[in-house]
Symmetry: C2
Subunit: 348 residues, 2 copies
């Protein structure tokens, strides 16, 4: 591996190494005959050009850094798939950098990406540490955030996202339209922006109907918004709390599908039925959502598409020919069977 360089080829071919370089990179400044002879030779000698040497002089690595909090989350896995697809297609490689939600690691990760001289960075992470952001900015490479607004507008930061406010509104509105009036929300406190946006959409919908949310118990209400963790267990646990309330909800909007699936289990274990006793709606439209019992109503996000767009955007940013606009994709309500009218509306 890498034991043979263009100089070696040059020696054998009886030409200078620059001629070899030109021949191999398809420059028109080589006689056709020498070109083919050299290419042939390169083949035989098992030559692999060294991207690292090339990068040193071209100052481009054709590599982008991909920061993700967890590939394990099916939502992000799908996004990563989209990114990777376009990357390979365009001759780019993807350097994976898992920050694992640990502050300490975030710095190490940015440091690493900087040293590796990536041409751009995509941050596919629900949470972008506060101290993290300035460091990212100083790297001076284009950055695309997925599903996060870059609140403070920095020149190198751009974003691809779905409209989480609209999505949250859509979900809640769906439950309201079915007749629900006590609607809960299971949040993901880990996730700053997409969670708060969905929550905002939820509130917005409730306000349209003059409904209160999250009244403190001493004000006669009970808690409607409960924290999960964006994963199965969190949804399960939060739903148990919701079910234990004195006046339980009839409908629940969950931060994401994993949370919703956790909630489904809690409801099942409490001996209640979905959607007869309580309606559940998720977010993401994972493949799994069509396979739960009952199939999950949810707000679909174009996961792969977001990944693709983010990668295309990074390439645009790197090319730096035209200004690029942030992208906001709409969410879409997918009605399956986990939502229905509340008990009091049902014909008995």
């Amino acid at each position: 591996l890498g034991k043979v360089s263009i100089k070696d080829i040059a020696k054998v071919a009886g030409v200078s190494h620059s001629t070899v370089s030109r021949a191999l990179s398809g420059s028109p400044l080589v006689r056709e005959e020498t070109r083919s002879r050299i290419k042939q030779l390169a083949q035989e000698m098992g030559y692999y050009p060294s991207a690292v040497a090339r990068s040193l002089v071209t100052r481009r690595t054709l590599t982008i850094g991909l920061v993700v909090t967890s590939v394990t989350d099916p939502f992000w896995a799908e996004v990563v798939g989209g990114i990777e697809g376009i990357a390979l297609e365009r001759g780019y490689s993807v350097l994976l950098a898992n920050s694992n939600r640990e502050r300490q690691r975030e710095l190490a990760v940015v440091q690493m990406l900087g040293e590796k001289r990536v041409d751009g960075i995509i941050v596919a992470a629900s949470r972008v540490g506060a101290l993290y952001r300035p460091v990212l900015g100083e790297l001076g490479v284009p950055i695309v955030l997925i599903n996060r607004h870059s609140e403070e507008k920095e020149p190198t930061m751009h974003s691809v996202a779905t409209d989480n406010v609209q999505g949250g509104y859509l979900a809640t509105r769906h439950l309201l339209d079915l007749g629900h009036r006590r609607i809960g929300y299971i949040a993901d406190p880990e996730d700053l922006s997409s969670n708060s946006d969905r929550l905002r959409g939820y509130r917005q919908a409730l306000l349209e109907w003059d409904l209160a949310f999250n009244l403190p118990p001493d004000a006669g209400g009970s808690t409607l918004v409960v924290d999960g963790n964006g994963q199965l267990e969190g949804g399960w646990h939060a739903m148990r709390l919701l079910l234990a309330a004195s006046a339980p909800v009839t409908g629940v909007f969950c931060y994401n599908d994993l949370t919703a699936i956790g909630a489904l289990r809690a409801i099942r274990e409490a001996g209640k039925k979905v959607p007869e006793d309580v309606s559940v709606i998720g977010y993401d439209d994972l493949a799994m959502a069509a396979y739960t019992d009952p199939p999950l109503t949810t707000v679909a996000q174009a996961k792969r598409e977001m990944g693709r767009q983010a990668m295309e955007m990074i390439l645009q940013l790197i090319a730096d020919t035209a200004p690029v606009e942030d992208i906001v994709l709409p969410g879409q309500l997918v009605i399956r069977e986990s939502t229905g009218p509340p008990p009091e509306y049902q014909i008995i």
Copy 2:
């Protein structure tokens, strides 16, 4: 970014660039005072060492290539998580390479990893193309295969796997012990080795009980082994076929949990109950397995652990101090509620 090099620092500090190099890499051959002065300066000037320049001379990139067919599969996502964890911990980066099951891409991917001069390659893919393997070998870097035996023993190829034969046996044996005699297997034809190993374990268990499998219809039997695709839809579709048989199975062993979850849906849609009418057992023990209805009995694989071990193994191989042994982890039966005695054994 990268606008400042050690030469720049050297100029400002009034020393040679080699002194700067030494100071920054913590060589003892520098006076304490100059070292700290240089470090200070580097900090202020926003210096980031260039990994690409360094790699050119050290001939190591501290990067490993990770070939995966689909990050989207939760099983592999988990494995990747394990790999990434150890990698970061040991100062290594991971270059992602999705072959997407397309033969054409596999070559492009290997080519890319070669040019990027990765120090090693981990193949976390169910299918390793035949023509793929020799190319990988020629790269001359250590290679670790996950969940695949390297049939033809090549010097640079090693593997970390679970014992799929044992796992398949465990699953089938569990159903047999419960009293099942007509047991189906939903396969994954995409996946050569792990699928055929699990199938072998299945057959082995059946043979112990003198049971036939997959009798051709004209021989009086019906099909017990049906192809899925390792994903939800495949399991669903295959289960429908199984249910439509004249003498349907009472128990099904599925290639993996996704397949099993697909099967659960098909059974539910057919108006049958799990496990009263038919028992279902999966493979992998995904987080999701505890959240299905009913919770899924399955054969657990130490997913993250496999990833970690593979990464450790690659590091050992790179260090090349001691010979390394292939690793085979045992599968473990996790009994939940999707398996029970067959209908004829049940108290009515």
